[in-house]
């Protein structure tokens, strides 16, 4: 059952019960009050009647019952509508009767004394309601009794009328309550419907869908949490997809890298064994086989470096980065001088923990990359400084720079910014992948700052600590 229907039914039950009880209580209280008031006023009028009779008796002494009847008739004619019926007894003998005396209930007057008066409710023969008042007065030591009947049917009629009106009001109230509670619940639960749609949408694969409910209540908070969860999930899925596509790219590139030199080797070897080639062709074929073989060797060694290197194998030693950079630069000096590349190194004195062979390899790769970025001649600047956790090395060149779209891929294995040039320079596309791995093993970071046509600056931070 829908929530709003449930709420509506609950509200309906609750309110109809409360309205019912409250309404009937109100009506019965008002009825009781009118009845009491009627009784009091009847009592008062009755007393006045008795008093009048006493006073009249004292002034002109009555001799018989006829006098009393006359007085009463006079009194009643003055104040006509007050009593429905009157009956006067002398001892047990009825001496006067007027009005609808048939409705009067015969009661024994033994307990009735002049000083008190009884009031009781009496139901008439035709559904009327009366108040019967019974009292006594003494005349010439003779006890007289007066029974009076007052019609109060109108109070009962009023009650029925009130009940009927209230029934109509009650039905209207219940209908209004049903409508209001249904629409209020609909308003309140509308965000939930939105939330439910959002979750279905996300389940269907539309990960960027958000519930975006802007209310400041618990549902709003739930929606915000839900949206947060959705965005986190979306991010994880995106990361996962990225990782998968990186993996696929790697496999594809790796196959290509492996098969290309293999195709050369097999092809030329096949030619050599099948065809009679002239010496020039033979030399050419042999040369291709040799260089493809070298490339495969290079590739397998690099790959081995990247995949086999492990944190456990890392033998950290306290090393002076300044001396290490000096050694690398002097080993590369001849090659760089040949290409008219100028190298400058500014290094702070100090030592930190590192695996020197790997850092050597890192520096060689960075210097090679810098050199490859320089068309003809140029400048390579190496700066190193000590930090609290290790050291920071910067290798900058004024070469061609890296296009911004290539930035995020450059440390991926086999990624090359310029494939054609990389082949000419005998690259296998693993240099920066290796550097990134070495830096990762040293808990460090490697960042690239580059502008096309201006140059590239690579910053490496090693964080293995210092002694």
């Amino acid at each position: 059952m829908r929530f709003r229907l449930k709420i509506m039914l609950y509200m309906l039950c609750l309110l109809s019960l409360l309205f019912g009880v409250g309404g009937s209580a109100l009506i019965s209280i008002s009825f009781q009050t009118s009845l009491e008031r009627e009784k009091a006023s009847a009592h008062e009028t009755y007393q006045m009647l008795l008093n009048t009779l006493r006073v009249v008796n004292r002034i002109e002494t009555w001799s018989d019952a006829n006098d009393i009847s006359n007085v009463l008739s006079q009194l009643l004619s003055q104040n006509a509508s007050s009593w429905s019926a009157l009956r006067v007894y002398e001892q047990t003998e009825m001496i006067y009767e007027t009005g609808e005396s048939a409705e009067l209930v015969e009661i024994s007057h033994e307990d009735v004394k002049p000083e008190n008066c009884f009031v009781s409710g009496v139901s008439g023969l035709y559904g009327q309601h009366y108040l019967q008042l019974t009292g006594a007065f003494v005349m010439e030591d003779e006890p007289f009794y007066l029974d009076a009947l007052q019609d109060i049917t109108y109070i009962y009629e009023m009650r029925i009328q009130q009940q009927e009106s209230y029934r109509e009001i009650y039905i209207c109230l219940v209908i209004a309550c049903a409508l209001l509670s249904y629409s209020i619940t609909w308003l309140l639960t509308r965000p939930l419907v939105k939330l439910s749609r959002a979750s279905k949408e996300i389940a269907r694969g539309n990960l960027s869908y958000r519930s975006s409910i802007k209310t400041s209540d618990e549902i709003g908070a739930l929606s915000a949490d839900f949206d947060y969860m959705a965005s986190q999930t979306e991010k994880s899925v995106r990361d996962l997809k990225d990782a998968i596509s990186r993996q696929e790219r790697f496999t594809r590139n790796f196959t290509h890298e492996l098969k290309t030199p293999m195709a050369s080797i097999i092809g030329y070897a096949d030619l050599l064994r099948l065809q009679t080639l002239n010496p020039d062709e033979q030399a050419e074929a042999a040369n291709y086989i040799f260089s493809a073989g070298k490339r495969l060797e290079n590739l397998s060694l690099r790959l081995l470096d990247i995949f086999v290197m492990d944190k456990q194998d890392l033998k950290l030693r306290d090393t002076s980065i300044r001396i290490l950079i000096g050694k690398v630069v002097s080993s590369k000096q001849a090659m760089l001088a040949e290409k008219q590349v100028n190298v400058s190194a500014e290094c702070e004195i100090g030592t930190c923990l590192m695996e020197p062979d790997l850092i050597w390899s890192l520096l060689v790769n960075l210097i090679d990359n810098a050199q490859k970025a320089l068309e003809q001649g140029g400048q390579i600047g190496i700066v190193s400084e000590m930090t609290a956790e290790g050291c920071r090395i910067r290798v900058a060149d004024n070469g061609r720079g890296i296009p911004s779209e290539a930035m995020e891929h450059i440390t991926e294995a086999f990624y090359r910014v310029d494939k054609l040039r990389s082949h000419k320079q005998n690259g296998v596309g693993l240099g920066l992948a290796l550097c990134a791995k070495i830096v990762e093993l040293h808990n460090g970071s490697i960042t690239f700052d580059s502008k096309v046509g201006v140059g590239t600056c690579v910053t490496v931070e090693l964080k293995e600590g210092r002694i």
Partner: protein, 219 residues
């Protein structure tokens, strides 16, 4: 003469294909990137294009879109032996694909099949004083039919299509009979001897020591 364009960025492979095809009597041009290849297709008439999938500038699939309306048959060269890649290549209108690394004989065979299918290669082969009518499966010497068994004919055709090449027994068996050659089997030698006698190629069909046979003809 049949002209073939080789589009392959790897110079070693490009050169090897060119060498093999030139030896087999085709005329070859090489393009090392997609853009250059498109220029060369515009200015020359080629009978066949060998196209690498991964190329700088314009990749093989993109270039294929350009070549397709021209109706030049294409054979893809690919390092990836993935079904998706092959299906994509073939559905784009390529005639065939060759997965790297490949052997010379396979390359020549595929090139030949594609050329014949596109009626670029003639159905008559003239070689060593013989005329072979491929469509009619007839062998003529001096206008007279020579009757050959099916296997002898296949063997002759294989030699005629790979002249001046040392053909290994394994390769011959694989191509003519199909399946793996059993070392020590004399099947090939027997057939070659009978073929020599029937068509009079006593000197042309030379045995290559420990390897197999070679058809020695002057081009």
């Amino acid at each position: 003469m049949i002209k073939i364009l080789i589009v392959e960025d790897e110079r070693a492979i490009s050169n090897f294909i060119k060498l093999s095809l030139t030896k087999a009597g085709y005329h070859c041009n090489c393009a090392y990137d997609g853009a250059k290849a498109a220029d060369m297709i515009d200015t020359n008439l080629y009978d066949l294009i060998l196209l690498d999938v991964i190329l700088p500038c314009v990749d093989g699939f993109e270039l294929m879109e350009y070549i397709r309306p021209l109706g030049i048959p294409v054979i893809f060269l690919t390092a990836r032996n993935e079904v998706n890649d092959r299906v994509k290549g073939l559905s784009m209108g390529a005639e065939d694909y060759i997965v790297k690394p490949f052997e010379v004989v396979e390359l020549l065979a595929r090139v030949n099949v594609v050329l014949r299918r596109n009626k670029k290669a003639g159905s008559m082969i003239e070689i060593g004083g013989l005329i072979i009518d491929v469509n009619a499966m007839r062998v003529l010497r001096g206008g007279e039919d020579i009757s050959l068994t099916r296997k002898e004919y296949d063997l002759l055709l294989f030699f005629a299509r790979n002249p001046n090449m040392a053909l290994y027994r394994e390769t011959i068996y694989e191509r003519v009979w199909g399946g793996d050659f059993e070392p020590g089997s004399k099947t090939i030698d027997l057939h070659v001897q009978r073929l020599r006698k029937k068509i009079g190629w006593e000197n042309e069909l030379q045995s290559v020591n420990k390897v197999g046979y070679r058809l020695e003809v002057t081009p």
